[in-house]
């Protein structure tokens, strides 16, 4: 029996060896990938977003004491800067960002302008309450500072000015918690390289996919009418009042591409990312498909010269092309890439059937 087992094992080993005479695999290490992502992308983008929010808070106070047009524009610019940085931060909806509910508190759109208006009118509100979930965050600021006659409202309606300040203060306070918690969570994240669905690596891969799908659906699909029998829903456009929706989409896809390639947020250095993992798995072709797919989406996005709302009125076929690119890309990253990593999407036991 013993002899038989060892014989068969040897047979199996030799069979395996013969099939694939030591082909060198490119060096790859999941631990390096995780520490590259956390150290070079997550922490710097969190720091940047935190700085953006603090700056926003500062220019807002400046404006509230000196309500000039120039100071108003200063606030508007600060909002847009933060909005763009947010496109990177929002990918990482796990760990402290998840536990503190930051993605929804800061990034939910569209805003319910009726709720905002009634909050301002009454002057009493609890921004943390569930009923105000659509009346806070960057989207609310987009409305408050970019809607028609915003400056006038800010200058004449004390409640309006206070409300805007409260929305900013809430974001600053909540995000400070994230910044703080990530300093210790980094070690946990870096060490959690297992394959279980609760490991940081799995969560990261899953959230990466989810963020891409969210960009596809919420930034383009829903406004375009993809989920409403083809009836356009411009009220669902992200950052509708400032009109930077397509800039946000571009930035969001760029951020995802950089994460995919492991490119540092501030350093711009290409470290270990999903691309290296695929190459390690001898899937260079898939890697090229994915990387080129991101680039194609970005190129298509920047080819539009007007705001999304304007394009929706005149340029549906080209927006459909953009949408198909996004749609097709999901299959590459969600099905092909994720299955290659052996990451589980589901959370229960599994016996592979």
């Amino acid at each position: 029996m013993k002899r038989l087992v060892s014989l068969l094992l040897i047979l199996a080993f030799t069979l395996g060896c013969n099939k694939d005479p030591d082909d060198p695999k490119p060096e790859f290490n999941k631990a390096t990938l995780l520490s590259n992502i956390s150290g070079e992308i997550i922490l710097p983008s969190i720091a940047q977003f935190s700085a953006d929010l603090n700056n926003l808070s500062a220019v807002y106070s400046q404006f509230s004491t000196d309500q000039t047009q120039a100071n108003f524009v200063g606030v508007q610019e600060a909002i847009q800067t933060a909005y763009l940085t947010w496109q990177t931060v929002k990918i990482f909806d796990f760990g402290p960002i998840r536990t503190n509910g930051i993605k929804s508190a800061i990034g939910t759109y569209p805003s319910d302008t009726a709720v905002i208006a009634s909050n301002i009118a009454s002057g009493s509100y609890n921004l943390s309450s569930l009923s105000n979930a659509d009346a806070i965050g960057l989207s609310a600021l987009d409305y408050l500072f970019f809607k028609q006659g915003a400056l006038n409202e800010l200058q004449t309606n004390a409640n309006y000015l206070t409300y805007a300040g409260d929305v900013i203060a809430k974001m600053v306070a909540e995000f400070a918690v994230v910044t703080n918690q990530w300093t210790t969570y980094k070690a946990t994240f870096d060490a959690s390289k297992g394959t279980s669905s609760t490991s940081a690596f799995s969560e990261f891969v899953n959230e990466f996919n989810r963020d891409f799908e969210l960009a596809k659906n919420a930034k383009i699909g829903i406004p375009l009418g993809k989920q409403s029998l083809g009836i356009q829903l411009p009220e669902y456009i992200e950052a509708r009042y400032s009109g930077i929706s397509l800039d946000l989409l571009e930035e969001s896809i760029r951020a995802l591409q950089k994460v995919y390639n492991g490119v540092g947020f501030t350093s711009g250095v290409n470290g270990q990312g999903f691309d290296d993992y695929l190459v390690h798995l001898e899937k260079e072709q898939l890697d090229a498909t994915i990387d080129n797919g991101f680039t194609a989406i970005i190129n298509k996005t920047v080819s539009f010269t007007n705001t999304l709302e304007q394009e929706m009125a005149v340029n549906i076929p080209q927006l459909d092309v953009l949408y198909s690119l996004l749609q097709g890309h999901v299959i590459h990253i969600k099905t092909d890439m994720t299955s290659s990593f052996g990451v589980l999407i589901t959370y229960q036991d599994n016996d592979g059937d």
Binding site: A12, K334, Y347, N350, D351
Partner: protein, 440 residues
Amino acid sequence: MFRIIFGALLLLGALRFVSKGWVEQLYILPNYHFGYLGFEWVQKLPGNWMYLPFIVMIITALLIIVGYFYRFAITLFFLCFTYVELIDKSYYLNHYYFVSLMCFILIWLPANRYFSLDVARNRVSEQHVVPYWTIRLIQFQLGLVYFFAGLAKLNSDWLIEGQPLGIWLQAHHNIPLVGPLLQEKWMAIAFSWAGCFYDLFIVFFLLAARTRKFAYFFVVFFHLVTWYLFPIGVFPWVMIFSTLIFFSPNFHERLLRRIQLLFGKDKSLDSGTTASSTPFPARRWVTMTIGLYILFQLVVPFRYLLYPGNLYWNEEGFRFSWRVMLMHKEGHAVFYLKDKKTGRESEINNAKFLTRTQEDQMATQPDMILQYAQFLKSHYQGQVLHFGDQKFTIEDPAIHAEIYVSLNNRLSQKFVDKRHDLTTFAYDLKHRKWLEPFNE
């Protein structure tokens, strides 16, 4: 002895399920469940009542361990467990099926006739000798699981490509020392061959007295490795402990005595018990029933032969066949609601109806795709949808889907084409021609 071990495993499994919050996550929160064909009438209990079958399972598992009202307890456990499993096939696992079958077998065995409270309280008379067939039946069921799992592994993906093990093993490259080795293809193939060999032959080595101890060592080793590498829950423990049934009565006797000492009882057990005698059950109808059961178990895993095409792609005749660890399938499904009256079309947000687990399972399993399409049809039929200032009454909805699936490390291929209205297909056991063919 087997009763105690198995009861303890059942208890552990039920407690684990509850403690992980799965009752709520899997059964209370979802709006829709994928019932089994012919068992759609099995519905979940409303809200927190869903905890009831689990509480019953925990209590009855305790009763099974101590052997009190044994037959009543094991029957109730079987019913609760099977009921829970029948609610939704998204959660189908071979080892759940195995547990159900084992419980069913145990209902009919006199497992409470020795070392039990039933005996101590004179509910049943003590019996030291059990008919040999009772043990054989359990051994048969265990052997079947292994052997069919082995047979299923005799395919080119498993033996030649080393897939899906290759995908799963490479993910473990951070294990010290072994990690780098797990990256190699030959390693995946070696694991595959070893696993296949183990599954096919372990039963025979367990049956032979001479090789039994050695084989059992392999059982423990094999299942510990799988437990460490793969998220397969309590299954390894079920197998490690269940296979003890292959050991001789004397071995179990010694174990029982240890337990007794543990509880400080000094009344020694009578010696020379639980030895086997009659090879066949006395009554004829019992023999017949068991024969039928055995036949059923032998035939069901082969039903896939009735279907054309690739079994792993089409998944026709896949469940209840001990096909463990054989597939790594990942899919992406976009469903479309089409209003036939206006010709307008909408993408459906699956997250509105399904949990992530359900969506993930559904995207790769044809029967669930059909079930979901039918559910969507009934959901939208007659609904009035408001978009902007427009209003649509959906009188005759069609449901289309575009689905891509990746199987065992291949690039994804189209699984379902958008041209089909899925609601026009019957949900039955016939071959599903609407699936796109699989290309190697």
